[in-house]
């Protein structure tokens, strides 16, 4: 069943091949350790968001005396910011393909654009939440508000962490400090970024688009 021999003469490192050791490791399923690890992490993250989404779906109608979705949502604004996030997935793909072709400058550019788009999304969310707050929707206002802010907040934190990772990648590429498979590190962040985007599509649909 093993088509390719597994090289185990050193423990596959976490993200950075041992200095001086350039050989590419092939594994039985064809996924490197880092990538498989990232997929598993994203799998667990699905359950995390699944739990938060379930809580929201249960409590979406329970806004007590506070404002509810109908009074608050600005669908056009949120659609634009969702589009921005979607576009950032495209630029992420471009960054990864540039990295595969060893085009550092292009990779850095696309990574920066992705980070910019991601920050724009987060910025739009901050603006959105601030306006909700001024309309009377605080974190502790109602079951609806707590569930909403928790779900979108967790997502926003995921995006922010993604932006930090993207900017770090830009810096590391420029300092040539991603030893070994540069493309793989960028691919991994790409996987994460696409996941965050897909989750947002689900959240946007369930939270904003489906009427209560």
């Amino acid at each position: 069943m093993a088509d390719v021999a597994v090289h185990t003469d050193h423990a596959a490192p976490d993200g950075h091949a041992a200095v001086g050791h350039a050989a590419m490791h092939t594994t039985i399923p064809g996924l490197s350790n880092n990538k498989l690890g990232m997929w598993l992490f994203l799998g667990s993250d699905c359950l995390l968001f699944g739990g938060l989404i379930s809580v929201y779906m249960l409590y979406r109608g329970r806004n007590g005396t506070g404002p509810g979705p109908d009074a608050l949502w600005d669908i056009p604004l949120t659609s634009v910011s969702s589009f921005v996030l979607l576009m950032s997935s495209l630029t992420m793909v471009l960054a990864v393909s540039a990295a595969h072709r060893d085009e550092d400058a292009k990779a850095q550019t696309w990574l920066s654009v992705t980070a910019l788009l991601g920050s724009t999304f987060v910025g739009a969310q901050v603006y959105e939440f601030t306006s909700f707050y001024h309309e009377g929707l605080g974190y502790t206002t109602s079951l609806f508000s707590s569930s909403f802010y928790s779900l979108t907040g967790f997502h926003g934190v995921h995006v922010t962490v993604g932006v930090i990772m993207l900017l770090t990648l830009v810096a590391m590429v420029s300092k040539n400090k991603i030893p070994g498979q540069k493309a793989e590190a960028i691919e991994m962040v790409g996987l994460y970024w696409h996941f965050v985007d897909v989750v947002w599509i689900v959240i946007f649909t369930l939270v904003y688009l489906i009427p209560t």
């Binding site: 950075h16 039985i28 996924l31 359950l47």
Partner: protein, 672 residues
């Protein structure tokens, strides 16, 4: 002869006679990267799976003793009616912490201890996929467990039960900080479990020795693989529940506030969607251990290997579909109850298959009753009892009488303590020689077993009766007027249960005495050969204890039970083909050493795991007591994350001391 080198990053200096001095890599420009291989630093900063496994084991066992003490206090309180040994408040803390400690701080980490130590050895690898994450998992567990237990001294431990039902666990009804400590402490240990799970899955899938297909993996590895998948999908759900709990208690989030319209059953669903897979997480590794030990001591291969592997996977899968059987009395409608009752009955079947296969493995065998073997046999017997009582709960009308009574307490202690923990003790006796080069005394081992087994059955056996005859659980006192008539009334059995618990305690002490006696330097009789049990799998094809890099030469695997097949050959005799032992572990090891790999790179120690793990309790104390402290912890977390990401997994040459002028350098380890 193998040379373990530190990889050389310094370019060959052309022409110059003396090596140029390259400054060592520095964390944050201040600290040198740790590189020690001996001494306490080598434990604190290690990334070696074997050292991590041992630390996991020692810490988990310490928590076992803490949880055991809590249990003894509970049983002392319940030894007499209307007893006053523990006040109601303290009793509630005691059973909450007993359950939390035993599950999260003993059984789960002990499983990690054994898995960490043996999975790389069983699959012919040199370490796990992400060694620094491995260290992180351990330190998260340790700091999380310590953090959780500091609650005793900081206003009282959690007192809402290990299941922490809402709204009883809200600020209004549980005002002390205990529940906050619980939520954050379990959250931290959850991080340990999740990172460990990802690590082991990648290790098992990607790092098996050449030739070891999934169907040639040891069954213990299979069960650990299945268990880690359970963790990956179950831990995030309890993380969500714990986040909601913390945000409600510490920041006023509205999730379980009934006045605002909340449904208290939300907590129950979230908790048990984790909680049920959790119990399979607890038992499956011991199933794997049984599947290792029974073949070795029956001198036959495991019966129905593929069925065993698949039944484990089926149990895990179906295990995600039975959670509401913990909620049969909670007010689900009859349709939900019927569905979950059916799914719970279904899951009994793959479990029963395993019992059948172990029994058939022993059939026709040549059975040796070592301490490891009798612990496993005890495990099977006790698990069958617990499993059968579990089947009676699957009948949900019956469960509405049984749930929340001592009958349930009996059930889960039979499967967890009688099952999982006895499996763990069997693993101790089985694998001790490999880990420590010494064999635990067999005679003391048998005393250990019988004291624990008889004690356990005296403690939890009567609880079946006590529960069915009306004593609910989580009660600080039981009154005489509810105990019924006759000598063998509930009062009598409560006393018996308390006596039994002390017997268990003595059994555990015997185990500790065994360790002490075994490791006394003067005790040369306990020194172990490489393969004391004539075992079947690759971990025995190593030194005692294994060298840092595990295998001098990574073996190529041709069949299941590879090690066994290297020792035994089928020889034709006049009575037909017979298995004859043609070589020993010692010879195989010597052969490895002769053909050792030339360059073996091992990942280097690192500060970041322990530092990053340390920031988590800092953040947690901050959430409870002082937000600025939490912010500080968060900032430190970011710093550690960056430091980690920027550090290569193997230290460059310049981190090691420069070679001495004359003679062979100290840093190059020559093996063999």
């Amino acid at each position: 002869m193998a040379i373990i080198e530190r990889p050389s990053a310094t370019p060959a200096t052309a022409g110059a006679g003396a090596p140029t001095f390259v400054p060592p890599s520095q964390a944050m420009g201040i600290f040198h990267r740790p590189v020690a291989t001996t001494g306490w630093k080598s434990w604190l900063f290690t990334v070696d799976h074997k050292k991590i496994g041992i630390m996991y084991g020692v810490a988990a066992f310490a928590f076992f003793l803490v949880g055991g003490l809590e249990a003894l206090l509970i049983r002392t309180q319940l030894a007499a009616p209307d007893n006053t040994v523990l006040s109601a408040g303290l009793y509630n803390q005691m059973f909450t912490m007993h359950g939390t400690t035993m599950i999260f701080l003993f059984v789960m980490p002990m499983i990690s201890a054994l898995a960490n130590y043996f999975i790389p050895l069983q699959i012919g690898a040199r370490d796990v996929a992400f060694p620094r994450f491995n260290a992180l998992s351990f330190w998260c567990f340790l700091f999380g467990g310590i953090f959780l237990n500091t609650s005793w001294f900081l206003g009282g431990a959690a007192d809402g039960g290990w299941f922490m039902y809402q709204p009883n666990a809200s600020n209004l009804f549980s005002p002390s900080h205990g529940v906050d400590f619980w939520a954050l402490g379990v959250q931290i240990t959850g991080i340990a479990s999740l990172t460990g799970a990802i690590n082991l899955i990648v290790t098992i899938i990607n790092m098996r020795a050449p030739g070891m297909t999934l169907w040639k993996m040891p069954m213990y590895t299979w069960m650990i693989l299945v268990t880690q998948f359970l963790l990956v999908f179950a831990v995030p759900v309890i993380s969500v529940a714990l986040f909601l709990l913390t945000f409600q208690r510490s920041f006023g989030g509205q999730f379980f506030n009934v006045d605002a319209g909340a449904d208290p059953l939300l907590w129950q669903h979230l908790f048990w969607i984790f909680g049920h897979p959790e119990v399979y997480i607890l038992i499956m590794p011991s199933f794997g251990i049984a599947s290792e030990i029974i073949p070795v001591f029956s001198r036959k291969p495991l019966f129905g290997y593929k069925v065993m592997a698949l039944s484990g996977a089926v149990i895990a899968f179906v295990g995600f579909g039975v959670w509401a059987h913990h909620m049969f009395a909670s007010g689900l409608g009859p349709v939900s109850v019927a569905v979950f009752s059916a799914s719970t009955m279904i899951i009994a079947i793959p479990t029963g298959v395993k019992i059948i296969n172990w029994t058939l493995t022993m059939w026709g065998g040549k059975i040796r009753y070592t301490a490891a073997m009798i612990f496993i046999l005890g495990m099977i017997v006790q698990f069958v009892i617990g499993g059968l009582s579990g089947v009676t709960h699957a009948v949900s009308p019956s469960d509405t009488q049984q749930t929340d009574t001592y009958y349930i307490v009996a059930h889960f202690h039979y499967v967890i303590f009688g099952g999982a923990v006895f499996g763990i003790f069997a693993a101790f006796y089985f694998w001790w020689p490999k880990m420590f080069g010494r064999m635990l005394d067999e005679r003391l081992g048998k005393w250990n077993f019988w004291l624990m087994a008889i004690g356990m059955n005296l403690t939890f056996g009567p609880m079946h009766m006590i529960g069915l005859q009306g004593q609910p659980r989580r009660m600080v006192v039981w009154p005489s007027k509810l105990t019924g008539d006759g000598l063998f009334n509930l009062g009598f059995w409560n006393r018996v249960a308390s006596v039994g618990s002390y017997m268990i305690g003595i059994g555990v002490i015997v185990f500790l005495v065994n360790i002490y006696r075994t490791h006394r330097k003067s005790n040369t009789a306990s020194l172990a050969p490489l393969d004391p049990w004539d075992a079947r799998s690759l971990e025995w094809m190593t030194a005692n204890p294994p060298k840092d890099h595990n295998f001098d030469a990574i073996p190529t695997v041709h069949e299941l039970d590879e090690f066994f097949h290297r020792k035994y050959e089928e020889v034709d005799t006049e009575h037909g083909p017979k298995l004859v032992k043609t070589t020993t572990a010692e010879a195989l090891l010597a052969e490895q050493e002769a053909n050792a790999d030339e360059h073996i790179h091992m990942p280097s120690p690192s500060y970041w795991p322990i530092l990053l793990a340390f920031t988590l309790p800092v953040i947690s104390y901050g959430i409870i007591f002082s937000i600025p402290l939490a912010a500080l912890g968060g900032a430190l977390l970011l710093v550690c994350a960056f430091g980690w990401a920027l550090e290569p997994s193997t230290a460059p040459e310049s981190d090691f001391d420069p070679p001495a002028e004359a003679g062979p350098s100290k840093e190059l380890e020559h093996v063999g």
